[in-house]
């Protein structure tokens, strides 16, 4: 893995940008628009992955060949999910009509999972009262595995759905999130995998009229973890708030491609991802694509990614892209910044009596807390903060 020491920190901010950012330094190569990407549910329709594709160019594909085009175990797996009124969970066959309504794979690993899964797990939310549902998966094993999940919120229903992942895994999966008209759904996916785990996930959301999805990706553990949420805002007034928190330590690769497709009038999107990096070989990737189609008039969108670098030897790739096909928008903007916590900042805090470990904790906590608070669940927020504390404490702190 390449490790680049970010001796210089970069800041880019652009408002109402009509031109896409150059995609990672390949100037003069035209950027393919996101909407033209090939999609199929059949793994055989995709050519072999080279690592040069837009979907893979930052990813260590050599370590993922079993998930990308190897044979996958698509059987049912054990999970824990305490019963909650208004939420049901069940395995369904591949012919269930909900499958495939929220999206189609645009890369070979996702298509491989789609081709291989035997049954899909469907989480159905009904009822207008607020409720919290937790589904916990742990130790899915070392063998390459496929999974398919559908989360369906009935019209006007409300819920917070938390997907917790821990233990060992070699998993490629697709999660479809179908938010009915007027529903308000929060989906939080927490990746706290074991050190060697590898996980590739595509989340596809279809949001109904005047409905809102808050989607949160929290990634702390795992060797290679890639969570790519794509949202289609195909009904008027649909709203997505996509949040992410990640903490990469030594030799961890954490990646997320966030895609928002404004395909109806008066739709709104807010994308905000924040990550911290610490330790040799820590690598994070964030690619944010916002597409505002001709149908997406009077839309309002903003995406941002901020990274905090805590030590040498880390690399944070951050690529915001904005494509606008209509002249009539309410607002569109994006921002990307990578900041360093350096020795001078440490000196400043210590010169005010604050011990070194506390100084680091203060800075990381301050940086990430804004996103954690926006999740809106105090218990989960506390657990995430405790997990980040552990990451900090376990890190190889430079002297």
């Amino acid at each position: 893995m390449t490790t680049t020491s970010p001796a210089t920190s970069s800041t880019e901010t652009e408002q109402h940008g009509f031109k896409a950012h150059s995609d990672g330094g390949d100037a003069f190569v035209p950027v393919q628009t996101r909407s033209e990407r090939f999609g199929s549910t059949n793994v055989a329709d995709f050519p072999a992955v080279t690592g040069r594709e837009p979907a893979w160019k930052y990813t260590p594909v050599a370590q993922l060949s079993d998930l990308i085009d190897g044979e996958l175990n698509g059987s049912e797996y054990p999970f824990e999910a305490p019963a909650v009124d208004g939420v049901t969970v069940a395995w369904v066959g591949r012919d269930d009509k909900r499958i495939g309504t929220a999206g189609t794979p645009e890369n070979k690993a996702a298509a491989n999972a789609w081709t291989a899964f035997e049954k899909a797990l469907v989480i159905s939310v009904t009822g207008e009262e607020e409720k919290t549902f937790r589904l916990h998966r742990t130790d899915l094993g070392d063998g390459a595995r496929a999974a398919h999940t559908v989360i369906e919120a009935a019209p006007h229903s409300r819920a917070l759905v938390i997907l917790e992942n821990a233990g060992q895994a070699a998993l490629t999966e697709n999660i479809e999130i179908i938010v009915g008209d007027g529903a308000q759904l929060t989906v939080v996916s927490v990746q706290e995998w074991a050190e060697d785990a590898r996980h590739l996930a595509e989340h596809f959301a279809e949001i109904g009229r005047d409905a809102k999805l808050k989607h949160v990706a929290v990634t702390l553990g795992g060797k290679i973890v890639r969570v790519n949420p794509s949202t289609h805002l195909g009904s008027q007034g649909a709203d997505i708030e996509a949040l992410g928190v990640y903490f990469a330590d030594a030799h961890q690769h954490l990646e997320q491609h966030v895609y928002v497709d404004h395909d109806a009038e008066n739709t709104r999107s807010r994308v905000s991802y924040k990550g911290a990096l610490q330790g040799e070989g820590a690598h994070t990737v964030w690619i944010g694509d916002v597409l505002i189609r001709q149908t997406g008039t009077a839309t309002d969108s903003y995406e941002e990614n901020r990274n905090l670098v805590l030590s040498e030897g880390t690399r944070a790739d951050s690529v915001p892209n904005l494509e606008i096909e209509t002249g009539d928008i309410a607002g569109a903007g994006h921002a990307s910044a990578t900041g360093r916590f350096d020795d001078e900042q440490l000196f400043y805090l210590m010169a005010r009596g604050i011990a070194e470990a506390d100084a680091r904790r203060l800075v990381v906590h301050g940086f990430l807390v804004e996103i954690i608070q926006r999740i809106g669940d105090a218990e989960l927020g506390e657990r995430i903060e405790a997990a980040i504390e552990r990451e900090l404490a376990a890190g190889d702190l430079p002297s």
Partner: protein, 254 residues
């Protein structure tokens, strides 16, 4: 009554061209409630003295001592020095991403005192100190030094001085870049801290104009890493009229 003593201090710094000695035998005794002005031309070692007292890792102490009431300051880490009662108001305070002023002040106060301040009095103390320094309330919710103007950064340094209540404060060119109104406000803050807590002040400055508002008991002129001359406030008046040329000529001949 406390005393900060510096004895025969020699300090060097590593550069691309090798080790460069900067301080060449500095002696200084600072008592509570005293104000000492350290003046001198650029490159004379004034800031090096400030950062060495605070413990910046860039500077190496080759010989000599710094003690606070007999305790060896050079043996202490940066945060231990701060907790022992040494404060450095920095010339170029750095931005701390993600940390609000209010969170920072409370964390620092808790670290210095060894316990969290009582909420109600603390909020009142912060508000009063900010009012005195003509700082708007919204300041407390901004990230430390992020997007602050030069004057705001210096006021924020003095705000910390007033709230953390150290025994000794080293002010490193706190006057640089301030307009006359800000200079008055900042100076009033230093004087207030001295009245309230018997603060000993080491005022490092290139210019004499801050000495109109903060009256020094002693003036030390730094040239080439040593005290070239010392005296009372009248020495500052003389520097105002004559500048540093006299010392520089002597240094060149030496």
């Amino acid at each position: 009554m406390s005393v900060l003593e510096i004895r025969d201090l020699h300090v060097s710094v590593e550069t691309d061209q090798g080790t460069k000695p900067i301080l060449r035998g500095v002696d200084l005794t600072l008592n509570s409630n005293e104000t000492h002005a350290i003046m001198g031309p650029n490159g004379s070692g004034k800031s090096t003295l400030a950062y060495t007292i605070a413990g910046h890792p860039k500077y190496t102490v080759d010989s000599g001592s710094i003690t606070l009431d007999g305790e060896d300051v050079l043996e202490m880490s940066v945060d231990e020095r701060a907790r022992a009662g040494i404060f450095l108001a920095m010339q170029y305070p750095v931005e701390i991403p993600g940390v609000t002023v209010s969170n920072f002040l409370r964390t620092a106060k808790t670290a210095i005192d060894g316990e969290a301040p009582a909420i109600r009095t603390w909020i009142k103390d912060v508000r009063t100190a900010m009012d005195n320094l003509r700082m708007d309330k919204v300041f407390a919710e901004r990230n430390v030094n992020e997007g602050f103007s030069g004057g705001e950064k210096k006021r924020h340094e003095i705000l910390q001085l007033e709230l953390l209540k150290p025994k000794f404060a080293v002010l490193d060119e706190t006057d640089s870049g301030l307009d006359v109104d800000a200079l008055k406000i900042v100076s009033e803050g230093v004087n207030r801290a001295q009245e309230n807590t018997d603060l000993g002040v080491l005022l490092i400055t290139h210019y004499t104009r801050i000495l109109r508002y903060i009256k020094p008991d002693h003036v030390h002129v730094f040239v080439n890493g040593k005290v070239a001359e010392q005296g009372g406030p009248e020495l500052a008046d003389r520097l105002e009229n004559e500048g540093y040329d006299r010392y520089l000529q002597t240094a060149d001949q030496a």
